[in-house]
């Protein structure tokens, strides 16, 4: 129930703050802030409740099952395991920051903005929780529309174009996933006689290699567009660049992660053989992404665009790690999801903070800011270093585990990916050089971070350093999920277990189905 409550809370909070804006903008902001903070508090309390070390083997912490569209075997089925917990914690953490970061930036249509913001967060929450494929697709799409509005209404100069591109790319790939979901549904139904979209039922479906591969492509394409993987990445630089700061924060921090999450949650467990068979190609794509993203990032002059391309590069590690098929790499991926969310999010916040002050994102027009804003410079330095994978910061742990895991799978690709770190250094340092070091060419004068901005950036710093030095809790939390997705080969066992857990539901289906809905 708690899980549904989370989503409802966010949706209700969104609507309420939307209306409250008619009374007072400040009240609207506060309400939004409080809503997300409550959600965050709930997740933290769950985490504490489950014990911070999370050493238990049973991977499911919470489960909620409400039949929704029984004719299709669709249920409102939410469940949370360690991975979901981590992702939710990240979601609400960044959600809080997204509200804060918009405090000054968003001055028109405040109510509608916060409505959209909270609904994006709600949609993402749904994506991270749902255990029903139909519901998953449902949330997958639901999070797009408010995001589209965030970009399209409050974005920068070229916002319409970016918003279209974002929407169309994700929709196109999402629909292909819907096809796969439906095909899976019918294949599973024909095999077992149980027509259900439930994740745990679907897991056990046996597929012929050919079918398996095609169906996996459907899922894969949705996730790698979101991730994004070169050459499906071109929506991302535009979307990131044009979105308002909160939008970029959510895009980079969370929306990209839904792709990675999908890979771990769905692609590997449901299609173990098929994903193993394309692993080399997928890893190659990852490597290409790492290098291509880095190369593109190097030449960009728009701060946000640059950071966007670094995301492309960093997400390459996720592809590399996921398809390395071992626990280390997968743990690295989980870590990367979180740390990238934080470090790139922070860089976007910095870009936003700069934009608020000097109204440009062109790094060629910046320079020498350190003298004026040493605090901001220090913070930026930390995240630039995080983005180039400096040990001691979270990203290093992620990348190191990913690479060392990937090494077991493919040595050549790992070497190239490791070399990508050199390029990461090149583009990361370029940010520092062009923005904070060098000479202040245009003589911008500006004030250092305000208290509110410190409130946003300092926690991010603390978290990224914390993750760099004490990442074990995160690793422990993700362990059961990672293990499950890893041992995809003997998934039938897990499936059976899951089946018994859900036997009451599935049997309810069978009755329902047998009576009314025959697919001959």
């Amino acid at each position: 129930m708690l899980l549904a409550l989370l989503i409802l809370l966010l949706m209700a909070g969104g609507i309420a703050s939307g209306f409250l804006a008619r009374v007072s903008h400040a009240a609207c902001r506060w309400l939004a802030l409080i809503t997300v903070t409550i959600a965050f508090a709930i997740i933290v309390s769950v985490w504490i409740d489950e014990g911070l070390s999370m050493t238990q083997t049973d991977s499911w912490l919470r489960d909620l099952y409400i039949p929704w569209i029984p004719s299709f075997g669709i249920a409102f089925h939410l469940a949370m395991d360690g991975l979901s917990l981590l992702m939710l914690a990240l979601t609400f953490f960044l959600g809080i920051l997204a509200v804060l970061v918009s405090w000054k930036e968003i001055q028109y249509r405040v109510g509608f903005f916060h409505f959209n913001l909270l609904w994006v967060v709600a949609g993402i929450t749904g994506v991270f929780l749902t255990m029903d494929l139909f519901l998953f697709y449902f949330f997958w799409e639901v999070m797009l529309i408010p995001m589209y509005f965030l970009i399209g209404i409050w974005g920068h100069e070229n916002k319409q174009y970016a918003a279209y591109k974002f929407f169309i790319f994700t929709q196109a790939s999402g629909l292909l996933m819907l096809l796969s979901i439906l095909a899976l549904y019918f294949i599973h139904g024909e095999q077992t006689g149980i027509y259900s979209f439930d994740y745990f039922s679907i897991l056990g479906t046996t597929l012929s290699p050919e079918t398996g591969r095609w169906l996996m492509f459907g899922f894969l394409i949705a996730f790698i567009v979101k991730l994004p993987v070169v050459p499906l990445h071109t929506w991302l630089p535009d979307a990131h660049t044009e979105a308002p700061t909160a939008g970029s924060l959510l895009l980079a921090g969370l929306l990209l992660k839904t792709g990675a999450y999908g890979l771990i949650r769905f692609v590997l467990p449901i299609f173990p053989e098929a994903s193993a068979s394309i692993a080399p190609v997928a890893m190659l794509l990852g490597v290409v992404g790492i290098l291509y993203g880095a190369m593109q990032a190097y030449s960009q002059t728009d701060f946000k665009r640059l950071v966007a391309y670094t995301s492309v590069s960093h997400m390459g590690f996720i592809m590399l790690g996921v398809f390395a098929f071992n626990e280390l790499a997968m743990q690295g991926v989980v870590m990367q999801m979180i740390t990238h969310g934080i470090s790139t999010g922070a860089l976007f916040v910095i870009a936003g903070v700069l934009y608020e002050r000097i109204h440009t994102r062109d790094i060629l027009r910046m320079g020498g800011m350190w003298k004026k804003v040493p605090f901001m410079g220090t913070v930026a330095m930390i995240f630039v270093m995080a983005s180039l994978g400096l040990p001691g910061l979270g990203n290093f742990v992620a990348e190191f585990m990913t690479l060392i895991g990937a090494w077991q799978a493919n040595k050549l690709f790992t070497i190239i990916a490791t070399a990508g770190l050199v390029f990461a250094t090149a583009y990361s340092l370029r940010i520092m050089q062009k923005v904070f070091l060098g000479k202040n060419i245009e003589g911008h004068s500006m004030t250092d971070l305000s208290l509110r901005e410190k409130f946003i950036l300092v926690p991010l710093c603390v978290v990224i350093i914390w993750l760099g030095l004490f990442p074990q809790q995160v690793i422990n939390a993700a362990r059961p999920t990672v293990a499950n997705s890893m041992h995809a080969k003997n998934h039938t066992a897990i499936h059976q277990e899951a089946q018994t857990n859900h036997v009451k539901y599935t049997s309810a289906f069978t009755l329902e189905k047998g009576g009314s809905h025959e697919h001959e």
Binding site: W370, P374, F400, T418, A426, K439
Partner: protein, 628 residues
């Protein structure tokens, strides 16, 4: 007391943290107290810990702070491992570091980034300590990258100058190239040993591999890659001369005494792997030999005081690599320590000169400082003598002589190594005293603006004393056979087995070395003091070669041409992302179809009728004639 080992890296870290958090709000005195004080405390602690350690007689002490991360087979801890090797390093780091901090208080006093400078410097010391104390390679990598970061920050300390930023980035990126190789080496090690704990690896390696095992060789080369990057050896040496853009104390601490020798530390630390991989070890020696030569020749042609010293550093580290290449581990470490003393001294003295002369770097615009800055002159001279390895009195002589001798006599040594080292010795003497003569002799060309105070001179004198006396803890057996240092290291680092019946030549070798060093000194004296026009003639007659050496053998140009330009070119040309063209193309195609179809919708009734008729004919044709 030894239990407080963890405090040694923690103190500088806290210092850095306080300085960063307070920003520039602290007065320079307090900042200096925190900055230098934390290192001072660490240095005192090092003595106490070292005393405890030696007294305990244990081989090693391990302090586990916390489990860092553990997933799958990989398990890393945040833990410090103290043995005789790391002891030497933390001693040098804290002590030389402390002296340099003291020096910096005066050197940087006027700088507005005073507290930032100390923050970086403290952070550096912390990282360096972690590097040498790490008990596993991941933590070592943390320190490794940490010092890289600090090096970057400090080279680019005066960030408003574009070229400083460039030098800083160059240093970081080039060392990162080496780090990539090292990281791959770690992956390989992990695949083989399922652990990255250094001691576990070292104990298991001999059991797992026979000498010459290909895996060992590959790993050896990969770690060498890392070492070569950090220690500015061929082919990744190009960043160090540019790194002189940083303040002089930085050059002294990071780019002479400590960080650049991290490669030496790494290879020595992993010496068992190299013992098992003779090919890799041979290449360590070859790289050392070549580097010491090309850097030495480059040093001959520089006019920037600090650049001479930079090239000389590369060259001296080349000696250390050469020593490691012949398996003279303790000789390499000995030379590291002595080099740390005299090179820090030289850099600090050079810094004092530069500060005294209004930030003048050009030697040829100095001159005649012998009388004006006597303290500097004498200390510099001691450092220079040590660098040039003037026989019998200087520490440098003993450390370098050991390397020369072992390159000749060691089992893995050979004539080429020896000749390279010998040539290097002459060249060293020449460029060293060229520097001394040009800077301190002749007539003054620039006015002195600042006379160094106590905070500068005291560290100089301490370091001078060390450069002078440091050598006597390890004497060749022809000269007293006093082997305190190598004995101290011997449980850890095996001694070199000599070739059969070669002991007798030791005297000859020492004599040759001594004569060559002195000969070099005399040659320089003639060229730069007696007949200065001669040096100009040589310079103009070999102008091309001179310039070639001056540019560091054109490695920069080569790398620019092969790597940097193509990358930047590709990146620039593709700024708008060629892949996007594909999607734009799709859009254009649909738009083309749109305009084509829209033309059919022309509003003319008969046209619409026609469309129905065509449709009808089509349907009838298909229904009647196509049999699917």
């Amino acid at each position: 007391m030894i239990k407080l080992l963890w405090l040694i890296p923690t103190l500088p870290f806290l210092g850095a943290l306080i300085l960063i958090l307070t920003g520039s709000r602290l007065s320079w005195r307090i900042a200096a107290c925190i900055g230098a004080g934390s290192i001072g405390l660490a240095a005192i602690l090092t003595i106490l810990v070292g005393y405890d350690f030696l007294a305990s007689g244990k081989e090693a002490y391990l302090h586990v702070a916390w489990n860092w991360f553990q997933a799958g087979d990989l398990s890393t801890t945040f833990s410090f491992y103290l043995d005789s090797l790391s002891m030497v390093f933390i001693f040098v780091i804290t002590f030389v570091g402390f002296l340099i901090h003291i020096y910096s208080i005066e050197f940087m006093q006027e700088d507005e980034g005073f507290s930032r400078f100390f923050a970086y410097l403290n952070l550096f010391v912390c990282s360096m300590l972690i590097l040498v104390l790490a008990d596993n390679l991941v933590l070592l990598y943390l320190g490794w990258e940490g010092v890289g970061l600090c090096s970057y920050l400090l080279i680019g300390f005066w960030y408003t100058e574009e070229k400083n930023g460039y030098a800083a980035r160059k240093a970081f990126i080039i060392t990162r190239v080496g780090d990539t190789a090292m990281a791959v080496g770690l992956f390989l090690l992990f695949t083989v040993f399922h652990t990255l704990n250094i001691q576990d690896i070292l104990t298991q390696a001999p059991l797992l591999w026979t000498t010459g095992a290909s895996m060992a060789v590959v790993i050896g080369f990969l770690l060498l890659g890392g070492a070569v990057g950090k220690s500015a050896q061929l082919p990744l040496q190009t960043w160090l001369p540019d790194a002189m853009a940083g303040p002089s104390p930085v050059s002294a601490l990071i780019h002479a005494a400590t960080m650049v020798t991290a490669g030496v530390y790494l290879i020595t630390r992993m010496h068992i792997v190299y013992e098992l991989a003779p090919l890799a070890q041979l290449w360590v020696g070859i790289i050392g030999a070549i580097t010491l030569l090309i850097a030495g020749f480059s040093a001959l042609t520089q006019f920037d005081l600090k650049r001479v010293l930079a090239y000389s550093t590369i060259s001296q580290i080349g000696y250390m690599f050469l020593a490691m290449g012949v398996g003279a581990w303790s000789a390499a470490i000995f030379h590291f320590m002595i080099h740390a003393f005299f090179k820090a001294l030289l850099f600090l003295a050079a810094g004092a000169i530069i500060m005294a002369l209004h930030h003048e770097h050009d030697m040829f615009r100095m001159g005649g400082l012998k009388n004006k800055l006597p303290v500097i002159y004498w200390t510099f001279l001691i450092g220079a003598a040590s660098l040039a390895a003037l026989p019998f009195v200087t520490a440098g002589f003993y450390s370098k002589d050991q390397i020369l001798w072992l390159a000749w006599a060691g089992e893995k040594g050979n004539l080429w190594f020896f000749l390279a080292a010998l040539t290097g010795a002459v060249v060293t003497a020449v460029y060293t005293f060229r520097m001394v003569f040009i800077t301190f002799f002749g007539e003054a060309k620039t006015k002195i603006s600042h006379v160094p105070g106590m905070r500068i001179t005291v560290p100089l004198m301490v370091l001078a004393a060390l450069s002078f006396a440091g050598g006597f803890i390890e004497l060749p057996h022809t000269l007293g056979h006093f082997t305190l240092f190598s004995d101290y290291l011997s449980p850890l680092l095996p001694a070199v087995t000599l070739k059969e019946g070669i002991e007798t030549t030791e005297w000859t070798i020492q004599l040759v070395t001594a004569v060559l060093a002195l000969g070099g000194l005399y040659l320089t004296y003639i060229l730069y003091v007696k007949q200065p026009q001669l040096s100009n003639e040589i310079k103009s007659s070999t102008f091309e070669l001179h310039q070639f050496w001056f540019r560091g053998w054109d490695f920069d140009a080569l790398y620019n041409f092969v790597f940097v330009r193509p990358f930047v070119f590709l990146s620039r040309i593709n700024k708008n992302d060629v892949i996007d063209q594909f999607y734009t193309g799709l859009v254009q195609i649909t738009e083309y179809f749109n305009s084509a179809f829209v033309k059919t919708q022309n509003g003319v009734l008969r046209w619409y009728v026609m469309s129905i008729v065509v449709g009808a004919i089509l349907i009838l044709t298909i229904s009647l004639f196509v049999q699917p």
